[in-house]
């Protein structure tokens, strides 16, 4: 297990390193960073001064490590359009994204797992096919389009639900559903196949042969043992929310990190997007590493692979 975790930790550091090199490299590919801050009325003196301030007079690798050191201490530079520290903008957006992702994740478990169990237990019946249909649709409907259709239907036409911003619990309903559907489809499929595998095993057949009641077989013997793959993979799915939150926040004007990223793209604000990308990458690899630890703890067999 230790070897596995060390290996994963190494991967994590490597990913962070590669992404930081990429961001730094692209920043330099863009040309002299002074162009981003100064206008055509800049004097020669100001130009040179800014070069010293930004550390452009030093060798490239020194510049990189200075930049990385600053980034790790929370200094992500100044955004171009808003002229305020990038770290500040990011910090301000974290809660909204976190709430949305957490709510959608819980939704996907609440919907996906029971439907998966039901689908496995009632295999081959209408219930099974309805469950699988729910999963099929969830994985084929484009989230960005689903969001728009829901807004059209429930906000514009029926006027039941609010469509933008984030003010009360009602504002959560549509974003959470849009973000959670495809994930709950994945949860359903995982739960279903894990459950089917266990239901097919010898000890379940033996329990049935010994006359244990059907509900006891399913909920006491089968369900508990089939929970391992869904539990471990559900955390992996949490990390995969990254793309989804960007789309959903964009559609529902949700004031989170994903929307910040799209704003940065639309305004061509390189320092801002670099900061968001670095932060998101760090959060992502850290989350994945935590998942690996959980995985190793829940399923000790991992040490053999």
């Amino acid at each position: 297990m230790t070897t596995f975790l060390i290996r994963r930790a190494f991967t994590m550091v490597l990913v962070a390193f590669v992404v930081s090199i990429l961001v730094f490299g692209l920043a330099r590919v863009q040309g002299d960073p002074r162009y981003m801050y100064l206008s055509e009325y800049t004097t020669e003196e100001q130009w040179d001064d800014l070069g010293v301030i930004l550390g452009l007079d030093r060798p490239l690798h020194v510049q990189y490590f200075t930049w990385l050191g600053g980034a790790l201490r929370g200094d992500l530079g100044i955004s171009l359009r808003e002229s305020r520290p990038v770290a500040e903008s990011i910090a301000e957006r974290i809660p909204a994204t976190f709430q949305l992702a957490a709510a959608a994740w819980i939704f996907s478990i609440i919907v996906g797992w029971p439907l998966g169990v039901l689908s496995a237990v009632k295999r081959g019946t209408v219930m099974d096919y309805l469950g699988r249909g729910f999963a099929l649709f969830g994985q084929a409907i484009p989230a960005f389009w689903l969001g728009i259709v829901l807004i059209l239907l429930f906000a514009e036409y029926l006027q039941w639900l609010p469509s933008g911003r984030r003010e009360g619990w009602a504002h959560f309903i549509m974003p959470v559903f849009v973000l959670g559907w495809s994930t709950s489809a994945a949860q359903l499929r995982l739960m279903r196949s894990a459950m089917l595998e266990v239901l097919d095993s010898e000890y379940i057949k033996f329990a049935r042969a010994s006359g244990v009641s059907n509900s006891k077989v399913i909920y006491k013997y089968a369900l508990r043992n089939s929970l391992i793959p869904p539990i471990t993979l559900t955390f992996l799915l949490l990390a995969s929310f990254l793309t989804g939150t960007i789309v959903v926040e964009h559609i529902f004007a949700w004031p989170g990190l994903g929307r910040l990223a799209i704003e940065a793209v639309n305004q061509n604000d390189f320092p801002l997007i670099a900061g968001v990308v670095l932060f998101a990458t760090l959060a992502y690899v850290t989350a994945n590493f935590l998942v690996d630890i959980c995985y190793a703890l829940i399923d000790p067999r991992i040490q053999f692979s």
Binding site: T11, L26, K122, P142, I151, A264, D269, F270
Partner: protein, 302 residues
């Protein structure tokens, strides 16, 4: 009645558990994917003959028909069958040309991912040792990279473009090919006929291409068909976010984005491209499952 008794897996297809029509329809299309095939064939034909089929040019703006509704809706006319967008461009023509873009992007990125991934998988599986170690670690690192973030920073740094879109989508697919091909190569290289080929003096490259690669074709085909749907979806998402093909080239995702500001008055602009994406993704997913069941039933999920 006890509905939950377990049917032995081997008899799954022989015993029909219920005679319900929902089940029957589902099973019928699982065995004979007529609708998915129809959708895919339509997509391909429309994409190839786009300039001949489309009633108007996809980019010619006509302010007179600005936000014109579909032909059957109130105020609609035969000139714009599915209506027109905010610049008066014919929606049907844009959808038809959008099909072309989707198909080109998906085909190109699948070829990139397939060739690169298969080559790496062959090398890793055949040579083993350090080359295997390097390639497998590379996959670990690659799969741990938050993909969308890379796309975002690339788009801001070098601008959105067609090659960039194809490149990033292609890069998102290679790892799957490498893993599967490597696994298969590992077992194939132990086979007697490979040893005989080596005794007969065949070079490593020849053994890989002539003796191992042909056996991996079916798994490559399965992976390709399974990934086509998710690539269409990914292309749509990136285009919707303004990270795909630059405007005014019509792409389904970007047409949905165009219509977003006019939802209350012109719902058709956003609605139709989304339906197109949904149908095509669904068709590819069904077709992918079908190809997998036919070529490599071991990959089938229960």
């Amino acid at each position: 009645m006890d509905q939950t008794s377990i049917q032995p897996k081997d008899f799954e297809d022989v015993i029909a558990p219920t005679q319900n029509w929902v089940v029957k329809v589902f099973q019928f299309f699982r065995r004979w994917p007529i609708l998915p095939a129809l959708v895919i064939v339509t997509l391909v034909v429309v994409a190839i003959f786009a300039p001949l089929i489309s009633p108007h040019s996809p980019n010619s703006a006509n302010l007179l028909s600005r936000l014109a509704p579909p032909a059957w809706a109130e105020g609609g006319s035969q000139t714009n069958l599915l209506g027109a967008d905010q610049q008066g461009r014919d929606l049907l023509s844009r959808l038809i040309h959008g099909a072309r873009i989707s198909l080109i992007v998906v085909t190109a990125s699948l070829w990139i991912g397939m060739i690169a991934g298969t080559a790496l998988g062959l090398v890793a599986g055949y040579f083993g040792k350090w080359s295997d170690e390097i390639i497998m670690r590379l996959i670990d690192v690659w799969l741990a990279v938050p993909f969308i973030m890379i796309v975002l920073v690339l788009v801001v740094a070098i601008g959105q473009s067609f090659p960039l879109l194809v490149g990033v989508l292609g890069a998102s697919t290679w790892a799957g090919f490498t893993r599967q091909v490597r696994g298969l190569t590992l077992s194939l290289k132990q086979a007697d006929y490979v040893a005989l080929a080596r005794v007969a003096g065949a070079s490593d490259v020849r053994i890989m291409i002539k003796h191992i690669l042909p056996h991996t074709i079916s798994i490559i085909l399965v992976l390709t068909s399974l990934q086509a749907g998710s690539l269409i979806l990914a292309e749509g998402t990136l285009s919707f976010l303004g990270l795909g093909v630059p405007p005014p080239t019509p792409s389904w995702g970007s047409i949905v984005a165009d219509g977003r500001s006019y939802l209350a008055t012109a719902w058709w602009v956003s609605l139709f491209p989304g339906i197109a994406i949904f149908l095509v993704v669904m068709a590819f997913n069904f077709a992918g499952d079908w190809v997998r069941d036919r070529l490599d039933p071991r990959l089938r999920q229960i």
